[in-house]
């Protein structure tokens, strides 16, 4: 419980610092929001008036406070490119990215855990060889190529889905799943390769541990040794690894979004950067940081639950 409180306090502090650094970074960039909005032809007076109206002339701490309050209320200002509130713009994309992330995560965990356990338990040379080959291939194929292969096979040859026809979850949940499963596969496959290897080596290492011998001396069978002794010990590094993977997916994958014509966070970020749409970029950077920090917070709590030896801060 004390660990939980401490971690929560640390989380809040980290988030505030991250928000400040994000804010500061966009202050340092040599660019003027007012000028960007009015274009090169605007007169000095017009720019100055707009600066005043946008509150750009106020002192730094005041504007940070403003930014923070806005962020807490979900107000990140207005997109310079689209003229829409940033929040509104992001809301649509979140659905896509989070849906994709969750679905890929389910695939990664659902496939790599059983496969990793099999890989660690198998004693046949053939089994080990197949796993090694499979995971190597999964890791080696570049995601964009994988995306294209999947589109070609399932979309064009087998016609299991219509390429590019994204169905929002709100409209038709099963339609959404039926489409999303394919980009999710493209995202998940390389990660599955990695996490199978990770789990395999972690399990194998734990199976050599002395406590396994003790468990056997108590009369545990192979299955009991695995499920009630080894697995929990082996999961800690895997949880940390999966957290990193999850953060990466949630930050948006430009390549996969492009291939499957999804309008997610990744593509929005790319467009906003090239369009110098700083309010949007700033919101996405803040979102990404928050995702990473929150996920690590969750992972810390899970690891601490799994392994009581983990020290308090």
């Amino acid at each position: 419980m004390r660990y939980f409180l401490k971690k929560t306090v640390a989380l809040v502090i980290t988030l505030l610092v991250a928000a400040f650094l994000t804010f500061l970074a966009f202050e340092v960039i040599p660019s003027d929001a007012a000028m960007a909005k009015l274009g090169m032809d605007a007169t000095e007076e017009e720019i100055e008036a707009l600066r005043e109206a946008m509150g750009l002339n106020r002192s730094l701490p005041v504007r940070y406070g403003d930014f923070l309050l806005g962020a807490l209320r979900g107000d990140f200002g207005e997109s310079t490119q689209y003229g829409l509130p940033v929040t509104e713009l992001l809301a649509d994309r979140f659905g896509v990215t989070i849906g994709l992330a969750l679905l890929s995560f389910v695939l990664i965990v659902g496939i790599s855990v059983p496969l990793g356990i099999f890989a660690a338990r198998t004693k046949s040379k053939a089994g080990e060889g197949i796993i090694a080959f499979l995971t190597q291939t999964m890791m080696a194929v570049p995601p964009f190529f994988l995306g294209m292969l999947i589109t070609l096979l399932f979309g064009i040859v087998l016609r299991w889905f219509t390429p590019g026809a994204y169905v929002p979850a709100g409209e038709n949940f099963f339609g959404f799943l039926g489409f999303m499963i394919f980009p999710a596969m493209a995202v998940a496959i390389p990660k599955i390769g990695m996490s199978v290897r990770f789990l395999q080596s972690s399990l194998k290492e734990q199976m050599q541990a002395d406590y396994v011998r003790t468990a056997k001396s108590k009369g545990c069978g192979r299955r009991r040794v695995l499920w009630s002794h080894v697995l929990r010990n082996a999961l800690v590094p895997v949880v940390t690894f999966l957290t990193m993977v999850m953060a990466e997916i949630l930050a948006g994958s430009i390549v996969i979004e492009q291939v499957f014509n999804l309008s997610g966070i990744g593509r929005l970020l790319a467009v906003s950067i090239s369009g110098r749409d700083y309010p949007v970029v700033r919101a996405i950077v803040l979102y990404t940081t928050a995702v990473v920090v929150l996920l690590n917070y969750g992972a810390d709590l899970i690891c601490r639950y799994l392994d009581p030896r983990i020290k308090e801060i």
Binding site: Y211, R213, T214, K218, G219, S228
Partner: protein, 540 residues
């Protein structure tokens, strides 16, 4: 005493092993046998000690009985019979079922049924032998869960009573703790409680006290003895320490290179050993006082410490006052030229911390440490030669390293010096071209000593330099240390928890407890008439 009349006594025998062989796949594809046809039997309630150096196959014999051999090992035997059941082989079905899957499955089923209920085992290292992520209660109740039909409340009561029987105070509080929160002795008590919870007929102990200090060792041994006698449990007690076996066992078996060398009642083996190997083993056991040295210790001080204290801060987070742990408090000592000064105490008494402060490896101490000359060579030898030498480098490189740092010697001079030091530490010259992993424990410790002596220091600090070694090797290393000390007029500060070793080698001894000096004096005076209660307890 075993084979001829073994069959007549069969009813009484709890365990009978016939021609057990254990082999591992070797480097060149040939099998490497580590146990070569060992046979013995054990009666109900009997305590059998198995002794031998590391590599003698004693642990493998025990693991083979329990069916816990490493997966790459192969077991072959004419039979292991336990309590009326066949654990392995059996003359007639051995041939019929060899390599047969169903026979393997039957063995596995019998093993699962018996282990944890009728036969149990405890191991050398109690920290790693307990599952780090499960509570004591969870681990303790597992044998009950697997072998009995007790309800959850009954199980908890049984666990508490088993812990109490193992002389653990506050058994209830232990239930929800994890192994890392307990001390080494407590962990081994938990292991014993867990092994005894189903009142087994046979308890196998594989070096259960090797990782513990002298006081705890005695307590654990007498606990095992007490519980075994109470419940009429037969015990196989494996140890490389003959003195432990002497007081505990009814019968003793000495093993060497996978074979039984000698077997008999404890009295027979210890009082009238027949085989030379047994005699050697007993002589190797370090005992007796230090032999008088020709050269008297000079009066010049080499090092002195006045009121040295070391405090460790353990931070508990950002806003809390850090917890302070007084590892060493106000220790004063003075060491003279050519002297061997011993520091003894249980683990955690601060002796290693003090040594680090003296060596200059620890800077945040209070008090003063004075050395005769600020440029005086001080070197250190550590306990575990397996982990304290860099495994990626060849021995020659390791030995040369201090020369590369401290002197302007050329490459040829350095190599010359390496050859000299190898000769002095009685290592063959080729060792320089080997990696540490190719050497035996004794050879590794010689390398560690060579690395310490290569810069020709005056003062050598030795932190438990023989604790990780076999008795015979231990004796050799101590002899080497003594010879080097005489030849080079070195000064040693020798830290150990082994009283026998300290008595054999040191001129003066300081006893430490909880960071403080309990007693300090001439070795023989202190061993013959200890002044303090604590010293008496240490001496047993």
């Amino acid at each position: 005493m075993s084979n001829e009349n073994g069959h007549a006594k069969e009813e009484k025998n709890l365990l009978r092993i016939e021609r057990l062989c254990v082999a591992f796949p070797g480097k060149d594809g040939k099998k490497k046998e580590v146990v070569k046809g060992v046979s013995f039997s054990l009666r109900e309630g009997e305590i059998l000690g198995i002794a031998g150096e590391s590599g003698s196959g004693k642990s493998m014999t025990a693991l083979a009985i329990m069916g816990l051999l490493p997966e790459n090992a192969t077991r072959d035997c004419e039979g292991i019979f336990f309590d009326g059941q066949t654990l392995c082989g059996g003359k007639e079905n051995n041939k019929k079922f060899r390599g047969n899957r169903t026979e393997k499955q039957r063995e596995e089923k019998v093993r699962q049924e018996l282990s944890g209920s009728k036969m149990t085992m405890i191991f050398q290292e109690p920290l790693t032998s307990l599952n780090p992520v499960l509570t004591i209660k969870k681990q303790m109740e597992e044998p009950l869960l697997l072998h009995t039909k007790l309800s959850s409340e009954e199980r908890e009561r049984a666990v508490v009573s088993a812990l109490t029987k193992a002389e653990l105070k506050n058994a209830k509080r232990l239930l929800n703790q994890y192994p890392h929160q307990l001390s080494g002795g407590m962990r081994q008590r938990v292991m014993i409680a867990m092994a005894m919870i189903n009142k087994p007929r046979l308890l196998i102990c594989d070096e259960p006290t090797t990782a513990l200090d002298a006081v705890t060792e005695r307590e654990i041994v007498s606990l095992i003895h007490k519980l075994a006698k109470e419940q009429n449990t037969a015990v196989i007690f494996i140890s490389h320490d003959l003195s432990v076996l002497r007081n505990l066992c009814d019968r003793v078996m000495i093993m060497k290179d996978g074979k039984t060398v000698e077997e008999g009642t404890a009295e027979q083996v210890f009082e009238r050993p027949e085989q030379d190997y047994t005699k050697n083993l007993m002589q190797a056991t370090v005992k007796g006082a230090k032999e008088a040295t020709e050269q008297p210790v000079s009066e010049t001080e080499v090092l002195s410490a006045t009121k040295v204290s070391v405090v460790f801060r353990r931070s508990n987070g950002w806003f809390r006052v850090p917890e302070l742990k007084q590892a060493v408090s106000e220790v004063s000592l003075s060491v003279k030229q050519g002297e061997i000064f011993g520091i003894v105490g249980e683990s955690g008494c601060g002796k290693s911390t003090l040594l680090k402060a003296l060596a200059g490896l620890l800077v945040h101490y209070e008090g003063t440490i004075w050395k005769k000359d600020s440029k005086i060579g001080v070197q250190m030898v550590f306990q575990d030669p397996y982990t304290s030498l860099n495994p990626a480098k060849k021995v020659g490189w390791i030995l040369e390293e201090p020369l590369r740092l401290n002197t302007g010697l050329s490459k040829e001079e350095r190599e010359q010096r390496v050859r000299e030091i190898l000769k002095e530490t009685e290592l063959p010259e080729e060792v320089a071209e080997r990696h540490v992993s190719e050497l035996s424990g004794g050879q590794r410790q010689r390398v560690a000593i060579a690395a310490a002596l290569i810069t020709k220091p005056e003062l050598v600090l030795l932190d438990e330099p023989v604790s990780a070694l076999d008795v015979t090797v231990q004796a050799q290393i101590l002899e080497l240390l003594l010879r080097l000390q005489r030849e080079h007029n070195l000064t040693y500060i020798f830290v150990s928890h082994d009283m026998a070793v300290v008595r054999k080698i040191c001129d003066r001894v300081m006893v430490m407890k909880d960071g403080r000096v309990v007693e300090c004096g001439e070795t023989e005076d202190l061993f013959v008439k200890p002044q303090e209660e604590y010293t008496k307890k240490l001496l047993g």
